[in-house]
């Protein structure tokens, strides 16, 4: 079932969502390799890969550019992908800038980039990091250079904030009342926003007393630069991004660990995707502790054997109980997911390995578990 998604008629976009620290990047990289192994020219768009992982894929400087994973790296690990694997790191501010330069005229472009309010916008507007990840995805998809794009999404508490971001951005930039309020002051003079015109409005005057005039000026200048062309361009683009994500070209996976909070997040994601009619691929539960059989009576025979020191035997027994509990705790958490989402949803479990996963060999181990059935 999971193998099928990498066939030629499968989705062109696979997104991995979930909380931070559950191994999203590692899973995304594995899915990338699986794409390449299935003959597809694959790009992994990532947020912040561990240095060791980037190193082992032969990617040293990761900034802004697309890097190809050298073929030798695969051959060294005994695989010969018929496709190729590329990787790129996302940069929110750059993507935002590019979007502005796509729709804004030369002069206003310059002013926008120089505006202090704008400079901070991409880092303060909630969800803009996520949204810019989608924007980049859309851009690359439309350039058409890759058969498959695997997206490693930014870790957020509310993993799907980006779905609401365009609307919030539009609300912020385009609300009619806002314009009605500001415009007279903005068009007051050749230099645009002037202090004395601003202060003729009692509301703005009072606000400037609290906020300080500098802050208001920056905000006013920024909004003045948003003309209809830029605004319409932005809105249209946001609509297209949404459409692509809810088309059959895209498939979303929830990556999680068996810990209570990431799991809750993953279930939220699943529900939210359904609400937005976005295709859900399944849950990938990473770092699962193995279970031990309920029947451990044969242990006592072993522990009572003459070669084992009494105190060591006791420690072994205690330790075993802890691991049994841990495995049981994971198993019941996963069982709960199954109950909540129904039997038809794909769930793949990746065990918690006894070593760090940081190279192709490790990723191939994850692949085995992704492909096998539990």
């Amino acid at each position: 079932m999971l193998k099928a998604i990498f066939e030629n008629n499968g989705p062109c976009i696979i997104a991995c969502c979930g909380s931070g620290g559950v191994g999203k990047t590692t899973i995304a990289a594995t899915l990338g390799i699986m794409g390449a192994l299935n003959g597809r020219k694959t790009l992994v768009l990532t947020i912040d890969p561990a240095k060791r992982l980037a190193d082992s894929l032969g990617i040293d400087s990761f900034k802004h550019e697309i890097h190809r994973v050298p073929r030798e790296k695969f051959l060294q690990n005994g695989i010969e992908p018929s496709g190729e694997l590329f990787a790129m790191m996302l940069d929110t501010k750059r993507t935002f800038d590019k979007l502005i330069s796509r729709y804004a005229s030369g002069t206003s472009q310059k002013k926008i980039f120089g505006n202090r309010y704008y400079q901070n916008l991409s880092s303060t507007l909630a969800g803009s990091e996520e949204y810019m990840a989608m924007e980049k995805l859309y851009e690359i998809y439309h350039e058409g250079d890759y058969d498959l794009i695997v997206l490693d999404t930014p870790p957020t508490r509310r993993a799907l904030d980006f779905l609401d971001t365009p609307q919030r951005l539009m609300d912020l930039l385009g609300h009619k009342y806002f314009w009605k309020f500001f415009r007279p002051y903005l068009y007051a003079g050749r230099f645009g926003f002037r202090l004395f015109t601003l202060l003729t409005s009692p509301v703005l005057k009072s606000m400037s007393q609290v906020m300080g005039t500098h802050g208001l000026e920056d905000v006013a200048e920024f909004f003045n630069l948003w003309d209809d062309v830029l605004f319409d361009g932005f809105r249209k683009r946001a609509g297209e991004v949404q459409k692509l994500l809810s088309s059959s070209e895209s498939l979303f996976f929830a990556v999680t660990s068996p810990m209570a909070r990431p799991l809750k997040e993953a279930v939220y994601l699943y529900e939210k995707l359904a609400e937005h009619h976005i295709a859900f691929g399944g849950f990938i539960i990473n770092r699962v502790n193995p279970g031990y059989a309920k029947n451990d009576s044969d242990n006592s025979a072993f522990l009572n054997s003459p070669g084992i020191d009494k105190s060591l035997a006791e420690k072994l027994r205690i330790n075993f109980q802890k691991y049994k509990d841990l495995g049981g705790s994971d198993a019941s958490a996963i069982e709960e997911i199954k109950n909540k989402t129904g039997a038809n949803i794909l769930i793949r479990q990746i065990p918690l390995f006894d070593c760090d996963i940081y190279d192709i060999r490790g990723l191939l181990k994850i692949r085995e578990h992704l492909l096998s059935n539990f």
Partner: protein
């Protein structure tokens, strides 16, 4: 008097999501309370996890009592800003107009750093009450569950950004006061929470550097959470390895579990060592409880570790 964490007025608990900040915030509050401190626990994000650790549905915008001397509250930056407007805009009608105008909505949401400064000013306001002898309820210690690392850093970095943007006005002045509080190591410190794994340790080291270089803030300690306890001593480790090697077929699950314990413990230790050698702050370890869901007894146990360990670091 020794300068321990317990003598500060504000402790920011920061770190990556999933490292256990919220649990540690709650446990630290319990530990401080057992020293007789009146503790105010502050939640800075929309997440009711902290409240539920004290058996409450969620925090409100006003401090509510959680335990004999622990109070909890959630700070909503928008409400703080509204109070501001009401305080500084002396004509009530104009204040009303501002609060109900669309532009206020926009500015409250979108002015970079305003939200953060409002959160911090509210913390500052409670911190200032420690100076006076007013009859209003006083707290001896404020513990803040900060947003996940990246955001936590922006929360604390904001005052300097905003001071340069808003050069005049009450908010600019307020921002300077907040900045003073953050940088004063006798009043404020930061406790970083990390997991003993590769990426979290890298991030913790990076965060430490940024906090000290960019923010000039005091990092009191780095807490490594969920550390597998040392169950077997070195002789026992070799005995287990011998047994594991001799029984090749029909592996005993009990030995397999022991092997896991030894390997994981060793792997974690390598990351903890890195934090100790490369980091510049005391490293304090909290045990792993072999579960996905901590119960109240386990949280109390963490509080005890904090009381007898973290709070003794000077």
């Amino acid at each position: 008097m020794m300068d321990t964490i317990l003598n500060k007025r504000v402790i920011f608990v920061a770190g990556k999501g999933g490292a256990g900040k919220t649990t540690i915030t709650a446990a630290a509050a319990m530990a401080a309370a057992s020293h007789g401190k009146n503790v105010l626990v502050v939640e800075t994000h929309e997440n009711d996890a902290l409240g539920s650790l004290f058996g409450q549905a969620g925090f409100t915008e006003k401090p509510s009592r959680l335990d004999s001397n622990i109070w909890g509250m959630r700070i909503d930056p928008k409400i703080v800003l509204e109070e501001y407007i009401q305080k500084y805009v002396t004509v009530p009608f104009v204040a009303y107009q501002i609060l109900h105008s669309r532009i206020f909505e926009h500015l409250a949401v979108a002015t970079p750093g305003l939200k953060e400064v409002m959160i911090l000013s509210e913390i500052w306001r409670f911190e200032q009450k420690m100076n006076s002898n007013t009859k209003t309820r006083q707290y001896d210690l404020i513990i803040v569950d900060s947003p996940a690392t990246g955001h936590g850093l922006s929360l604390l970095r904001v005052p300097s950004t905003l001071t340069s943007m808003l050069q005049t006005g009450p908010i600019a002045t307020q921002t300077r006061w907040v900045e003073d509080m953050l940088k004063d190591s006798t009043r404020t410190c930061l406790v970083l929470v990390a997991l003993p794994e590769e990426l979290p340790v890298n991030e913790a080291l990076e965060f430490e550097r940024k906090v000290e270089n960019d923010l000039n803030m005091c990092v009191a300690a780095t807490i490594v959470n969920m550390v597998y306890p040392q169950i077997f001593d070195s002789d026992e480790v070799s005995a287990i390895e011998r047994m594991n090697n001799s029984i090749l077929e029909n592996k005993q699950p009990i030995l397999e579990a022991a092997r896991r314990q030894i390997v994981r413990r060793k792997l974690q230790q390598s990351h903890i060592d890195r934090l100790i050698t490369e980091g510049e702050h005391p490293v304090f370890q909290l045990p792993f409880y072999y579960t996905n869901n901590l119960d109240r007894e386990q949280i109390k146990d963490i509080a005890e570790h904090i009381r007898t360990g973290l709070f003794k670091i000077s």
